[in-house]
Amino acid sequence: METSNQYLKFLDSLLAKPSIGAIGKTGLWRTFKPIYYRDKCIRCLLCWLYCPENAIDVNEDKTIAIDYDYCKGCGICASICPKKAIEMIVESE
């Protein structure tokens, strides 16, 4: 929240608004990387619901896309997926 009122400048430090990547790219933390197999996916969107980082985007056709800038590699999506349509592999450069 940015304010032009000189007396309310403190709001910038007091109020926190949700914003993408406020504390940097959490994707850098990753040691395992989720790989998505679109052909196995039944579009139930459980992975989207469970991802703690909001790193799963939903495409128009209800398939998903993983935002690797912020995916921290926790593996929750792979674990919750009923069709094993997400697999965790070791992260490599």
């Binding site: 929240m1 009122n5 007396y7 309310l8 400048k9 403190f10 709001l11 430090s13 007091l14 109020l15 926190a16 608004k17 949700p18």
Partner: protein, 404 residues
Amino acid sequence: MMAVEGISPKTYRKVLIGNHAVAEAVKLARAQVIAAYPITPQTLIVEKLAEMVEKGELNAKFIRIDSEHSALAAVLGAVAAGARAFTATSSHGLLYMYEVVWWAANARLPMVMTIVTRSIAPPWNIHSDHNDLLTMRDSGWIISMAESVQEAFDLTLQGFKISEDERVLLPFVVGLDAFQLSHTAEVVDIPNQKIVDEWLPPRNPYIPYVLEPGQNFAVGNIGPNEYTMELRWYMYDAMKRAKEVIKEVDRDYAKIGGRSYGGLVERYKTSDAKYIVVTMGAWSGDAKEAVDELRDEGIPVGLLRLRFIRPFPIEELRELAFGAKAFLVVDRAMSMGYWGILGIEISAAIKEITQIRNIIAGLGGVDVSVDDFYNLFKKNIEKIECGEIREVISIEWYMPWLKK
């Protein structure tokens, strides 16, 4: 107190005890949310407000709540949601709500709370001293203290205006002494609702911010350490501005209330005084009578009454200190291991300029009469005059019942 010519016909008079006068002011301010837990000697304030809400005289949500901690938390939430809100407590109730006292100030939420000052146990005691109120000293609240029922009423109304001013945005507490004001009736001049409404319009809920559906932000989320320090600096700055706002509102109030008090302090016969007595709260009236008696004897003594402890009237004190031989600071609150709290505060401001005698009296509500004040002032002035008391700062516990 300075009377302004011809009290406005838009005021009327009522005989009210201090607690009911505070309730009357909260009603006139059209508080929208009141959350409170009963504690003697404050209870009559919120009991009266509950009655006003019940009778439909005050259109507010009255929240009966499980503790003082929750009471101030509910007020904090109501203010964050845009309402004008109020609570009151005393002594142990204040100590129990203490965490939220700091939350309210650090979150910069405008509100008014009354503290009817009461001693802290043990021993269990419901009478007045000022240690409870002064635990709020460092928290970021604006801290005022009334001398009379009228002033408690006036400060409560002014408190909303000062606290909500966008230059300030800090919570505001009004202190009044247990029983001496809270349960003592006085004739009170009350401005009518119409002129109060003009003077104190409804609170702008968007200043400083409002929690409402569709607004996704959090108040006071964890953040970089620098944010904490910056917020403290903004509060420091707001407290400095509050000094001017307090004086401005005090002057402006004369238009509706017919009175101003002189800002952060009240000066009584100080212009040519060599000895300055400093007091705070209800007993200042008795101390003034003692000053009058000493004046009749030709002793050049005056009285400075602290109306505000935060922001602290350092300029006013220093100005008087330059012409004074000594300050007699009468304290109803003690900082164990050091001096009285006013003694500490005032010595920090003036000790390189003049001598200070810190008199601790009236703890636990012990009565201090005009005669007591007269003897105390006279004896100390004589001792300073003849050089028996030479230290820059010295302390005395006034407990006449222990002697002889």
